[in-house]
């Protein structure tokens, strides 16, 4: 993996060092969303930015090697479905839709377990945001625009007129 496409060697090397750290930071933001500023959306965006960095530095094929498109589409739906299932489990266990059925306890202040269902909800949202933001970026940047028909004629006309 060297000079085929993508940015310069410096960017590629820095990307190789940073991608794991950025992803890890995103996961931290996701998991500790109920204690520190952040949460599912912010963490998901940071995780997605790791993949977007790879796309920018190496190009889309390398990014697809890290997260294949089919897997990203599956994860996208899976995250949203998990969120719905957590909400439905509240109805199942506690009798009210979206009820916090795991429960909170005053002893567990500032621990991971202090917020009940918020942590799994954040993880589900993070998964959804990660995969859908990555997909949006890759789809829009890797789109091959083929202008044909009317548009082609219009561009050619514009090229000929000074």
């Amino acid at each position: 993996m060297a000079a085929e496409g993508g940015m310069s060697l410096v960017v590629k090397t820095v990307t190789r060092w940073l991608k794991g750290l950025i992803f890890l930071f995103g996961m931290y933001i996701m998991i500790y969303g109920h204690l520190t500023p952040g949460g599912g959306f912010a963490g998901g965006v940071i995780c997605a930015s790791a993949f977007i960095l790879i796309t920018l530095a190496y190009g889309a094929p390398e990014a697809y090697r890290h997260l294949p498109r089919g897997a990203a589409e599956k994860l996208d739906s899976f995250g949203a479905l998990t969120f719905l299932i957590i909400a439905l489990l509240g109805l199942w266990f506690a009798g009210v839709f979206f009820r916090n059925f795991i429960g909170t306890s005053p002893e567990s202040h500032f621990r991971l377990t202090s917020a009940g269902v918020i942590v799994p909800c954040n993880l589900a949202i993070g998964l959804k945001v990660l995969s859908s933001l990555f997909l949006v970026f890759v789809m829009l940047s890797a789109l091959h625009i083929i202008v044909s028909g009317e548009g082609r004629r219009r561009i050619e006309r514009r090229r000929h007129t000074p």
Partner: protein, 486 residues
């Protein structure tokens, strides 16, 4: 049964996310899941008729959590959305074979239904905005579904104007939150009762009129509708024209103005003015159209004008007429769009100048188009006649003789314009020989028959008196009960 209220949003969302996960392997899954979800939703919305209640999501009490609200008005709109949605989904099984990637279509369709159901049941202003955006974004994508020149252009126009409308609505919500310090509809209503309609609240009201007017395509804001609705695939046009503009436009306006802000005479006058303008201008623009779907789209503007006129009268009779017409319009307009779709499915054309003799080629579509046209034109045994009659009576009884005259005149022009459709499209021999590419699929016929039968059956709603048609009377009660109490 109270737990069925959140299910109206959860089920379509779950379906929408489930379909893309499994559809790569099995092509029948999108059809099956989409239709199954719509059947369940339609059954639930039947079951919710006549029930009332407030559901606290997450078990949080009123000012802290999000409330879901069920009353008479909610019930009839849920019935309209999910009933029409079921017919459109049945119709799409064969019709959407004309397009590719059916699973995307069903996914977006279910998102749109989830958004509309959410708008209807929510009791929280910001939640309403979020659901409205879900429905709107899904509909932008559905309008562009064909990915051809016209579709993309219409979708861009629709998306930009819809985005502006959403922005206006969001500013309105921000202003309301700034003044009242709450987003819960009941609490806002309560606080507005004490502080009165101060200038900031009036600013918010103006923004809501403009924003929801854009979403409902009332006349000064109608420019996007005649492009967007005909460009979508036929079942989607049926959903857009039949229920979307009502669920995220007219319904929200009625709910906010009658139950949250309290109807003042100025507000009612504005609603009447918008109603009459859309009624008259919509029908005048419709007369000259030759594209079948475009003609129907202009008639949607005109018929929404009737609904707004009825609501703007503010009297119980006017409300009954407006809401009954809303229900009726959702049935016959979606039937008309599905008919146009089945003509397009068989012949590949929808321009009336190139069509003709369809009543012989597609007898069922001919019959259902006749029913729907008579309905929208206000011919006696059909449902459209009764609701227009109630609106005209309400105008006369409230002393607006001029408005009653306009309503009669517009009804006559509407009938004339639909006679044109019937003559050129269905009964007169075509100018050139038509080639029938596909015959009608059975599920499409089922959808058309269901809607045509309800066109007739809904005229029985008035057996309990013009003042209080079945189902509609509870919705009128909900609206005329005044603002929400805490």
């Amino acid at each position: 049964m109270i737990h069925a209220i959140p299910m109206m949003v959860v089920l379509p969302l779950a379906g929408a996310f489930f379909i893309p996960m499994v559809s790569r392997r099995a092509a029948w899954v999108p059809d099956a899941v989409g239709n199954a979800v719509m059947v369940v939703l339609a059954v639930i919305s039947f079951g919710l008729i006549g029930r009332e209640g407030i559901y606290h999501v997450g078990g949080w009490p009123t000012p802290l959590g999000i409330d879901l609200r069920l009353d008479g008005l909610t019930a009839i709109l849920l019935l309209a959305v999910n009933g029409i949605g079921l017919c459109a989904a049945l119709f799409s099984v064969s019709y959407m074979e004309l397009y590719t990637s059916k699973f995307r279509y069903y996914s977006l369709f279910l998102f749109m239904v989830a958004g509309m159901n959410g708008v209807i049941i929510t009791g929280d202003l910001f939640n309403l905005y979020v659901f409205m955006e879900i429905a709107a974004i899904a509909s932008y994508a559905l309008v562009a579904f064909g990915c051809e020149h016209e579709e993309l252009e219409a979708s861009f126009k629709y998306a930009v104007l819809g985005g502006v409308a959403s922005s206006l609505i969001l500013i309105g919500i921000a202003v309301v939150y700034m003044i009242t310090g709450s987003l819960n509809m009941a609490q806002i209503a309560d606080r507005i009762q004490t502080i009165g309609l101060t200038p900031p609240i009036l600013l918010a009201l103006c923004l809501f009129v403009a924003g929801f007017g854009l979403k409902a395509a009332l006349v000064p804001f109608h420019a996007w509708l005649p492009d967007a609705h005909p460009s979508a695939p036929a079942p989607v046009s049926a959903m857009l024209s039949g229920v979307l503009i009502k669920a995220i436009g007219v319904y929200v306006m009625a709910r906010l103005f009658f139950n949250v802000f309290g109807p003042t005479s100025d507000l009612l006058a504005v609603m009447r003015l918008l109603g009459v303008l859309s009624m008259v201008i919509g029908v005048l623009l419709a007369v000259g159209q030759w594209d079948m779907k475009r003609l129907f789209a202009y008639h949607s503007i005109s018929q929404i004008g009737y609904v707004m006129l009825g609501l703007g009268l503010g009297t119980p009779l006017g409300l009954a007429g407006g809401l009954f017409h809303l229900l009726n319009h959702s049935v016959f307009k979606s039937l008309l769009f599905l008919n146009a779709g089945s003509v397009e499915y068989s012949t590949g054309r929808r321009n009336l100048k190139q069509l003709g003799g369809m009543a012989r080629i597609l007898p069922l579509t001919g019959g259902t188009t006749l029913v729907a046209s008579m309905s929208i034109g206000g011919v006696p045994p059909f449902n459209g006649f009764w609701s227009k009659l109630i609106i005209i009576f309400a105008c006369i009884r409230a002393g607006f003789y001029g408005l009653a005259g306009w309503a009669v005149l517009v009804s006559v022009i509407t009938l004339a314009s639909f006679l044109k459709v019937l003559r050129y499209g269905f009964y007169e021999a075509p100018a050139e020989k038509l080639r029938v590419e596909r015959s009608m699929a059975p599920l499409m016929a089922v959808a058309l028959l269901l809607l045509a039968i309800s066109c007739l059956a809904m005229s029985l709603f008035v057996v309990t008196g013009l003042e209080s048609p079945v189902l509609v009377d509870r919705a009128v009660e909900a609206l005329s009960a005044g603002v929400f109490g805490m």
